[in-house]
């Protein structure tokens, strides 16, 4: 992958991100943030690549493994906690409709 191509991807990705989040209701600020935060743990792919390419280089295996651990802590924790929050928001309409 040459540099110019990578830069194009960076540019288009940023524009996509700006475009995707136009108007967010305040209720969703926290879940959106923690969801986006979980996605930033995508560095786990970089850590995986590092471990796989390390072959028998022990220090590199170790550093990759620690990095993978941190990334997955971010990913798994982030998605779970977001789901927990969103579950509370979803609860409401069903209860209300039952009351009515």
């Amino acid at each position: 992958m040459d540099f110019a191509q990578a830069f194009w991807i960076l540019l288009l990705g940023s524009l996509l991100g700006l475009e995707l989040i136009g108007k967010v209701p305040p209720t969703l600020h926290t879940p959106l943030m923690s969801g986006a935060n979980a996605i930033s743990g995508i560095t786990m792919l970089a850590a995986l690549t590092l471990i796989i390419q390390a072959k028998n280089n022990l220090p590199l295996l170790l550093i990759g493994s620690i990095s993978l651990g941190f990334a997955l802590f971010n990913v798994v924790g982030g998605f779970f906690v977001t789901d927990r929050m969103l579950a509370m928001f979803n609860r409401k309409p069903s209860k209300n409709s039952k009351l009515k």
Binding site: T27, T30, V76, D83
Partner: protein, 470 residues
């Protein structure tokens, strides 16, 4: 079909799902499914990567071992924390997760720079960016977490102007290390960059006051996206670059929303220090002259006679974990056919949308939560306003006093209501450290005490009055 093509297609699908996920997260109805879709996209991307290496160079047994150990430990701790953490400490949890994402990018860059030789200039550049942003994200997030958790306060020496000089010199040191790293990757330069970026993250975050934390967290969130994109450049992964860029851009938008809510520019949040340090020079200080304190009983009597009650929650509610008790009180009032709603200021609490999450946990119906612009015209018609642990967001100074550091910040016009009860632990100032003119107004009464205790006393008083008994 060759393996590279299949992996590219899987990656493309992951990017599509991630984008749809972020899009869906900005709408209440689709948010939960969107979150799961994003999680699935991440899973898919891992499958794609493993598939690619299995089909080409193969994965050694030793690599598998380290992959399994690392991912099991990380996922386990993440899942446990996510399940156990109370909703009230959501801001610090997000900050911690965020910091770990930054740490991961930092470690990837270190691994590549130390153990894989023959990098190109572009790789050197992206490694430097990855180290720099990763370290700042990590140390900044950890400091933010410690401050939100109450382990760290804002030391007064950090409010001194000298801090700018210190931070600028650290920034220059990191810049020098950054440029040197492009020419030669010897280990002392790398460590200099790691250390100076870490210190810079601390130096920039430490002086920022608690009330500005929503902005800091969303900015750090954006940084962690940039760190991921930089790591993508390091390992030459298009997927990482796209995902990182999307998160970075989304974080910037949220940061902007938060700044607007406080009517402060990003620059003044980052470099302005706490508001209190400014108020010494302006009219923000001063003594209270006309404080009316009242008992819980009086408060209950007034509430009983009301037709319309607006509740203004703030950070104090979260600290006291009083959201469930508040919901009980509101239920009793509603049974007496008193109209109850909640006025949510955009930056109430320590995280954007913090109050919405708390009240949702206590089963408050979504329709009763009203945004500032919608609820402000309602205050003159309200008989009683209950202010629970909110302070700066109800300070009328922001509209009336041009010299106040708060001037121009959008606030809730609670003083327009007939009676205002402020439930507060003591007369201490809010996080901004500025005197609140609301407390001096004749229609304001203070009810001193812990929010949870006052609310449960209020509940028993109301029950004694026969409210909600039928």
């Amino acid at each position: 079909m060759n393996i590279t093509l299949i992996q590219s297609l899987i990656n493309l699908l992951s990017v599509l799902f991630l984008a749809l996920g972020i899009k869906g997260l900005s709408k209440v109805r689709s948010a939960r499914e969107a979150n799961r879709l994003a999680a699935f996209a991440m899973f898919l991307s891992v499958i794609g990567l493993l598939f690619y290496y299995l089909g080409t160079n193969g994965i050694t047994q030793q690599s598998w071992l380290w992959i399994i150990v690392g991912s099991l430990i990380g996922s386990l701790f993440g899942a446990i924390l996510a399940k156990k953490v109370p909703m009230t400490s959501m801001p610090e949890t997000v900050a911690l997760f965020n910091g770990c994402g930054g740490m991961s990018s930092l470690l990837v860059a270190l691994g590549v720079v130390f153990f894989q030789k023959n990098q190109s200039l572009i790789q050197d550049l992206s490694i430097s960016v990855s180290i720099f942003v990763g370290a700042i994200t990590f140390s900044g997030s950890i400091i933010a977490m410690a401050k939100l958790q109450g382990w760290l306060s804002t030391p007064s020496w950090t409010q001194n102007r000298v801090r700018h000089l210190i931070n600028v010199s650290i920034a220059i040191i990191s810049l020098i290390a950054f440029i040197n790293l492009l020419q030669s990757s010897d280990s002392s330069t790398i460590w200099l960059l790691v250390i100076s970026s870490t210190v810079l993250g601390i130096g920039v975050t430490l002086p920022i006051g608690g009330a500005d934390m929503p902005v800091v967290i969303s900015l750090l969130n954006s940084y962690s996206g940039i760190a991921a994109a930089a790591a993508g450049f390091v390992v030459e992964s298009q997927l990482l670059i796209v995902a990182g860029a999307m998160v970075g851009a989304a974080g910037l938008i949220l940061t902007q929303v938060m700044c607007k809510g406080m009517n402060r520019s990003l620059i003044s949040v980052l470099f302005g220090g706490t508001l209190a340090s400014k108020s010494e020079k302006s009219s923000g200080g001063g003594e209270y002259t006309n404080i009316t304190s009242c008992s819980v009983e009086e408060c209950a009597l007034t509430l009983e006679a009301a037709n319309k009650v607006i509740i203004v929650p703030g950070y104090g509610l979260a600290v006291a974990q009083a959201q469930h008790t508040l919901r009980e009180v509101a239920k009793i009032l509603e049974q007496n056919e008193i109209e109850v709603c909640y006025a949510i200021h955009p930056v109430a609490g320590r995280m954007p949308g913090h109050m919405n999450v708390l009240l949702a946990e206590a089963d408050v119906p979504y329709e009763q939560l009203k945004e500032m612009d919608i609820v402000n015209p309602d205050f003159p018609a309200a008989d009683v306003v209950l202010v629970l642990g909110a302070n700066d967001v109800v300070n009328p100074q922001a509209k009336s006093d041009k010299n106040s550091p708060l001037y121009g910040m959008p606030v809730l016009d609670v003083q327009e209501a007939r009676t205002v009860f402020v439930i507060k632990r003591g007369m201490s100032a809010g996080y901004s450290g500025i005197k609140n003119d609301l407390f001096d107004l004749p229609n304001t009464s203070m009810v001193f005490g812990d929010a949870k205790k006052v609310l449960s006393e209020l509940m028993s008083e109301l029950k004694e009055l026969g409210v909600g008994a039928k």
